[in-house]
Symmetry: none
Subunit: 136 residues, 4 copies
DNA sequence: GTGGTCTAGACCACG
DNA sequence: GTGGTCTAGACCACT
């Protein structure tokens, strides 16, 4: 269900966080869904339970999941207003800067990049994610 | 000429590399241009000379610049095949993944993101840089 | 400078976070101030460095401090708009509920409680904290 | 009658204790009133009976209620000296500290907080509860 | 069984 | 030297 790659530059706990966040955003993990237990996921990924726990703690801190002691970790309803508009903008700016820095000088065609990005973002478009009900 | 920001998540040497790469890609630094000496730049940025040296080493390793002992670092002619097709593709994939992970769940409109990205990439479009042939 | 109490119901890392947050809010720790290193504070408190590191990670995540690799952890300028209005309200509601639950049935006089609270909050009042410059 | 919220940071048994204590303090549950049986409440809340039993045990230990075997839990007469002065003071101090820690840095106006708190505490003022003598 | 916390000790990237 | 990450193993609170 969740996979980690040893060659990945990201630390393991971050890979887990990113993967879960993606699954939630794409609707693959719906609100109320239960994540694998810390120990179970640690076993499956053959990493230390603490590493998984750290990832889960971050998901909790981000407001994406909630821990029910003695029960497990559950995906929360998406609440879009946790961060201020300014903070969200700041994060987009930062991500944008980082992306441009990474591909600058790689000689790719802008239209090609835009097309690819559009395709990659498609799964997270509101209508596709199932996270929001149409107002009817 | 180059600025570093303490609050930036990137290490200092990376900020230097990114900034120089940007300037080269945008044409601001043309082939043959001379970068400040390690010591001079370190002084100006008030960072450790080792840090600047590390950045320059990376620029050299990337094939973007060349060190002439005792003189300074010089921007090289852009060579199309500096990186293999596979390597370029790999970097684009990685940058793409990282960008998507960063903005997933921030609830921005795709079109808005695409428009912004197009604007940010404009300065690096081949025809604008003046030092590259359009792909035609 | 920072003290932890073994009898405290809060975990150690939380005590550290709370203490630092208080010092920042009261102006005792001004923006730009450097916090003790992870190892130094761990030594002083005779706790595991990881525990301090966890506290520092939370301060960083909260946007109160920033880590400069190889240098140390520094207090950031207060940026009041990181959380949305709704989120801040939510947190106040929760704190309020918890406080009322804790003192209900303790038979204290309301006015007495209000007076004490006012006194306790005084050090964090904007004018006292020194965090904001008068507009003059 | 009693509701538990899964998203609540408090453990379930604590939510039950708090809710009952509130109802007693506000006079909604008068002395002599009977609380549902452990099994009945567990069923209604769909929680583990052990959890309800733990909550009831705490209410008993606090001197707020009394168990009559096979019958249920009954609210006791309020006894002024249930807790020592020192203990009451200790609890107020702790609650105060926790409250201040929670809202520090949230940048609310003190007067706003005091006003809200006064409103929230109103239902528990001695004259309103009906079961306590005013302090005169 | 669940998640949360802590200790001990290690290695890495950065300056 | 700095902070960041990971492993290993332990204990606790809660259900």
């Amino acid at each position: 269900m969740i996979q980690i790659v040893t060659g990945d530059p990201r630390p393991v706990f971050r890979q887990i966080v990113d993967e879960v966040r993606r699954k939630i955003a794409s609707g693959e993990l719906a609100a109320g869904a239960r994540l694998p237990s810390v120990r179970a996921l640690a076993m499956q990924l053959t990493v230390n339970p603490n590493t998984v726990a750290k990832a889960y703690a971050e998901l909790t801190a981000e407001g994406l999941a909630e821990a029910r002691r003695g029960v497990g970790l559950f995906v929360l309803e998406p609440s879009r207003d946790r961060l201020s508009v300014a903070e969200r903008q700041r994060r987009l700016d930062e991500a944008m800067r980082q992306f441009v820095d990474s591909i600058v000088g790689l000689d790719f065609d802008i239209d090609e990049i835009l097309a690819r990005l559009e395709a990659e973002l498609a799964p997270f478009t509101p209508s596709a994610s199932g996270r929001r009900r149409p107002l009817t």
